[in-house]
Every structure is written in C-alpha cells, then in structure tokens.
C-alpha cells in the first residue's frame, strides 16, 4: 500500500491564486452553469480591443502627423534654400551685367575703340569681380573691333551668331555654358548700347562657370543634397555631385516653367525617392536645382519611428499579457466559485433525494407492515385453530406451511424495520450508536449482492470499541457510501474487510478495505474531488466520496485513503467518541 493520503478534500489544497486548488478534472460543460471558455475569450478579446484599439489608432495618427510634419518641414526648408540660392545666383549674374552697363554708360564709343583703354577696364573688372575672362566690343555689323583677352578674337564677326541676334533684339544676353575654344566651360554676357545715330555696339565678356560652382559648392545642403544649374534643355551648367558633370545631360526631368520656387518629390532613375527644389532664374537660360535624398532627410524621423514602434509593440505585449493574466485569474475565480456552487447544489439535491427516499421508504414500510400484520395474524389464527382444536395438530406438513408463512412474515418485517431505521431524518440530535449494529444494518442492504457476486465480507469489531455519540443517519450514509464503493471496486469473489476499533481515548477508527482494482497516485490525489469518478459510464457521478468527506467532516472526524493499483484500497474513517462536542453533529 502506498503512503496514506489524508486529504482535506476539495477545499484543502490551495492554488497559486490563493483559492483552493482548482480541479484538474477535464472541464465538462454540464458540470458548470457558465460557459467559462467563451467567457474567457470574450472578456480577453473585449479588454484587449478596448485597451489596444485606442492606443494603436492614436499611435497610427501620431505616426502620420509626425511623418507629414517632418515632410512638410523638409519641403519648407528646401524651398527656402532654393529661393535664397536663386537670389544669390541671380544677383551674381545681374551684378556682372550691371558692371557691363556701367562701362558702356561711362565710356564713349570713342574710348571703347581704344583697346588699351578696354584692357585697362578689363583689369579693373577682374580686380573688382571674379570670373571675367575677356572683354570685347562689337559693332552693329557683328565685327569685334576691339578684343582684350587670352585669345586671338580680334576682328571676329559674330553677325550670324544666335546670341548676337538676340542681343540686337533684347539689349542684353546671357548665354548657356559652353566649352568654347579653350574647352573650358564658360558663358557669355553681352549688353547693347545704342548710339545717337541709331547705330549700336555690343560689349561682350566671357565669364567662367567657376563663379557659379563656387557659389553652389558653398551651400550646406542636408540629406546628401546636391545643388546645380541646368539650362532649359536639361544640360548641366555647373558640375554636380551625383547627377553628372558640367555639360552632361541631367538624369532627371526638366521642371516645368514657373516663376515661383517649386519643391516636389520624385524618383531617381534607380528608384530612390528624392526631394527636388527648382527655380527658374529670371532673364537667364538657367534653372537652379537642389536635389536631396528623402531617406537621408527622414532618417531622424525614422529613428524616432523605430523607437515609437518598439514602444508600441512593448506596450501591446504588456497589455496583452496583463489582460490574459487578469482574465485568467478572474475566470479561474469564477470557475472555482461556480464549481463550489454546483457541488453544493448537487449535495443539496442529494440530501433532498435521500430525505425523499427516507419518506418514501417510511411510507412503503408502514403500508406493508399493516398487510404483513394481517397475514401474520391470519396465519397465527390458522395455527391456533390447528393447535387448539387438535384436528390438524399432528399434520406436520400443514403446520410446516403455517410456520413457513410466519417465518416469511418475520423476514419481511425485519426488512421493513431496517428500511425505517435507515430512512429516518438525518438531522436529528446525536444519539449513542453501536458501530457494530450500524455496520450490520448497512450491510443488510448489500447481503443479496454479496451473495450473488460471492463477495466475502468480514467484519471485525474490537471488544473495547465504545458506543459513540453521533448522528446515526449521517453515519449510515457514510458507511453505505464507502461500502458501496468497495463493492464497486472488487471483482466477483472479492473480499471486503471492515475493522472497527478504538483509536486513542477520544476516537474510533473504521477501516474498510477491499482487494479490488485500487487507484493510481493521480486518482488517489483526487478521490475526494467533486465529480471525480472512475465509474463513469456505469452510473457514477463522482459525488459519493465527496459527500462522504463532507459528512465525516460534519461529524467532527476525518477520512483518508490508502491505495495501490491492482492491489486494493482502504478507507480510514476516524470519528470522535463524543460527537456532541462538534457543532455540526449537534445541529
């Protein structure tokens, strides 16, 4: 036999949540009035939705607002840089054009025919302004009659040049950048000066593009940005960091004409998102472009976004964990309470059923006792008549028949008396009970089963076993439940031993041992749990031993069980000799 397990029953061990340990019995919906799985799912889902939903929506909104704000800031900043740079480039070109205007206004045509004078003017210009390479004066026929500079361009006729036609028409001209004879990128600035005799001459100068390159390279552009100038055909007029060298064709589309500064998003040829700011520079063929990498610009925001998403995921995980934990805890509590309630309900039903059976038994016994009494008296009268008249006195067969009737009546009478004794109200005051008599009475109900199944029942009552003061009805129920259990456990031909004796000065011990199938450790640990049964399918609902446990506790005693699988089981019931001390018994 294994170590005895004295369990305090379903209310003994305590779970992690502080409640009595919940049964490991598989959940069967019929045992509970509530659908706890659905309750758990609904509660957890609702709590998660209510807490996670607003948080996620707010985070998403904040995400979008922050993203738009960052984009807006980038666009605004780019627009500002483009505008300022446009003004700087425009000012630089206008400044040089104004210098040429000043020269033609300040010098007569006669003075400008003096190439030495023109050379002096060029030197003065180069000292005051950067970029000036040469200076030439061209008459209305297109012939450059005076040239000062590093090339041999004196006498060259520009009559068929497009720019000359343009300056005749518009008074000023700024050319695209071109390599020229030197193969050095530069541009031409020319101004027309009208003479009083309706003639005119043109003052022309070459300006190096290093002027614009220097201006643009000094810009501090975030987002791995690039600032450059293109002409209206999309040819780079200055060198760029990422989009080609001067005089190469730009890999981006030429922006549409607009007097205002424009900033827009586009994709590069290799699908990289770009922020592009453009400005047409007035009175020039130039378009200023500032191109930035959007990903680089958004990097600070992306870092914040990663942090935000990380925090969101962490918060959601914590919320889900807390919700699942709290819901499980609460539903566990409800499950425990519901199970207790259902068990109490079943116990009440059981008690009520026993009371009903008691009343029914009493009624049946009473109704049977009357006809039994009549049979008894009639048979007795027949016997009297035979005996007193002497007529059939010696007829052994007739007398035997009458005696057999009387014996059967006595047997019936014993059964009804036992039924009446057992069916009495269990809530009576404690009385002195002889345990031997009570066990015999209970076994009387099982005599026939024991006989049919050849089960040997051996009762041993120690001589020093005292009568105990207890509630006899409840004691009978306890003994009936435990004995029933033993009968269910043993095979036909099995053995049940019932031993009763004193256990110390204040207790008696009733030990009911069977040589049945026994129980495993797991079954043993749960034997007093409500609804735990090994007899499912044969009518067992798993309440007999649970109720036995409650009844023994009410009588002020305790019950324990020892069992070994395939060897047998012993139930040990300890009851106080003076059960009146126990309030439950007295009640």
């Amino acid at each position: 036999m294994s170590e005895p397990i004295t369990t305090r029953g379903p209310t003994g061990a305590r779970g992690r949540d502080g409640n009595p340990a919940l049964p490991r019995v598989p959940v069967e919906s019929k045992k509970y009035s509530l659908n706890l799985r659905r309750m758990w799912q609904l509660t957890a889902l609702l709590m998660i939705l209510v807490s996670v939903g607003p948080l996620t929506v707010m985070t998403a909104i904040d995400y979008r607002v922050t993203e738009r704000s960052a984009e807006s800031e980038i666009l605004l900043h780019t627009s500002r840089v483009v505008s300022n740079t446009k003004l700087a480039v425009e000012f630089s070109l206008v400044e040089r054009m104004a210098a040429l205007d000043f020269i033609v206004e300040d010098n007569s045509i006669a003075e400008l025919r003096d190439c030495a004078r023109v050379g002096e003017i060029l030197r003065n210009l180069q000292m005051s302004f950067s970029g000036f390479v040469d200076l030439g004066v061209i008459d209305a026929s297109g012939r450059q009659f005076c040239y000062v500079g590093p090339y041999d361009l004196a006498g060259v006729n520009y009559r068929d040049q497009e720019w000359f036609e343009e300056v005749r028409r518009d008074t000023t001209h700024i050319s695209d950048v071109f390599p020229g004879f030197r193969h050095v990128p530069h541009m031409v600035i020319a101004v027309r000066h009208d003479l009083p005799d309706e003639g005119f001459y043109v003052l022309r100068t070459s300006v190096e593009t290093s002027l614009l390159n220097k201006l643009l390279s000094n810009l501090e552009i975030s987002g791995e940005g690039d600032a450059f100038v293109i002409n209206r055909e999309g040819v780079l007029q200055t060198s760029s960091r990422r989009h080609g060298d001067v005089l190469e064709v730009l890999d981006l589309a030429v922006p549409d004409y607009s007097e205002a500064t424009r900033v827009y998003e586009t994709m590069s040829s290799d699908d990289v998102p770009l922020i592009v700011g453009t400005a047409y520079i007035p009175h020039t063929p130039f378009i200023l472009m500032i191109v930035k990498q959007k990903a680089a610009l958004m990097e600070p925001w992306s870092a914040t976004r990663r942090l935000l998403i990380g925090l969101l995921v962490l918060s959601l995980s914590i919320i889900v964990l807390v919700v699942v934990g709290v819901t499980s805890y609460l539903v566990n509590k409800i499950r425990w309470a519901d199970k207790q309630r259902v068990a109490a309900l079943h116990q009440t039903e059981y008690t009520a059923k026993m009371a009903s059976l008691g009343r029914l038994g009493a009624g049946v016994a009473h109704e049977i006792n009357n006809p039994l009494a009549i049979i008894n008296e009639k048979a007795g009268l027949i016997k009297d008549l035979f005996q007193y008249s002497g007529r059939y006195k010696d007829d052994a067969k007739l007398m035997g028949i009458v005696d057999s009737i009387l014996a059967s009546v006595n047997r019936c009478s014993a059964i009804t008396r036992r039924l009446l004794n057992f069916a009495r109200d269990t809530d009576t005051e404690p009385v002195l009970v002889d345990l031997g008599e009570t066990i015999t009475e209970v076994l009387g109900f099982m005599g026939k089963e024991a006989e049919y199944r050849s089960i040997g029942v051996n009762v041993v009552i120690d001589e020093d076993t005292p009568e105990i003061l207890t509630n006899r009805g409840r004691l009978q129920q306890i003994l009936l439940n435990v004995t029933n259990n033993a009968f269910a456990a043993v095979d036909d031909g099995g053995h049940i031993d019932i031993a009763v004796g004193r256990k110390g000065p204040e207790e008696v011990l009733i030990r009911v041992t069977d040589d049945g199938c026994g129980m495993s450790e797991d079954q043993l640990a749960r034997v007093f749990e409500p609804f735990f049964t090994t007899k499912r399918g044969s009518g067992g609902v798993g309440l007999g031993l649970s109720i036995t446990y409650s009844l023994v506790t009410e009588l002020g005693g305790s019950v324990s069980v020892e069992s070994e699988l395939w060897v047998g089981t012993s139930f040990l019931i300890r009851l106080p000799v003076d059960g009146a001390r126990n309030e439950s018994v007295a009640r």
Partner: protein
C-alpha cells in the same frame, strides 16, 4: 382480563381478538375512534390496544378521550412504523409500545405485565 383492540384494519383486530380468546383473554374490537368510545362508555376494559395512525381520530387523541371516560384503563400502542423514533414517541404516551407485525405471545406477555398491580 378484558381488552379492547382498536385499529382501522378490521381483518387484523378481528383475527387478533379471536387469537387472544384462545389464550384466555376476552377481547373486543373497534375499527375507529367513535366505536371505541361507544364501547368504552358501556363497559370498562383492563387494557386498550390501539393503533397510532387511524383515520379521523389518531391513537394519541383517542387515548386522551378514553382516559377521560375510564382513567383506570391501561394503554398499549401499535404502529406500522418500527423505528426507534416512533418507539420513543409511543413510549412517552402509552404504557407500552409494540410494532406490527405482532408476536402473539409477546402481546399476551405485555398485556399481563401492564395489568399487573
């Protein structure tokens, strides 16, 4: 010795009366309380043997009525219930208490004991 048997089961009391007569006990019988009262008003009995449960007038109420008519009479209760609880209640009310079905010799012995001075 004169005995009055009262029980709503006529078959029982009539047979019992006949069996008692074989044993030298003069027994009359009644099947309800009214007949029992009528009989008692006309003659006295040493012992009244009566059922606890009877229609109209139960055994305990009948005993009280008969006691008022013949205070000297002794009473023995019968009942179909054989429980100790009934015995406790019956003992409090009657001189003796017997459970059905009866053992005739036990009844005679009880009657003798009850009337013994």
């Amino acid at each position: 010795m004169k005995v009055l048997l009262v029980d709503d089961e006529e078959e029982l009391v009539s047979t019992l009366a006949e069996r008692l007569s074989f044993r030298g006990v003069e027994a009359k019988w009644a099947t309800d309380g009214r007949d029992a009262v009528d009989l008692t008003e006309h003659e006295s009995f040493d012992v009244v043997v009566l059922d606890v449960k009877m229609p109209h007038l139960n055994g305990i109420e009948l005993k009280k009525k008969l006691e008022r008519i013949r205070p000297e009479m002794k009473f023995v209760f019968l009942t179909g219930h054989g429980s100790e609880e009934d015995f406790r209640i019956g003992s409090a009310e009657a001189d003796r208490y017997l459970a059905k079905p009866l053992d005739i010799d036990a009844l005679v012995a009880t009657l003798m004991e009850v009337v013994k001075p």
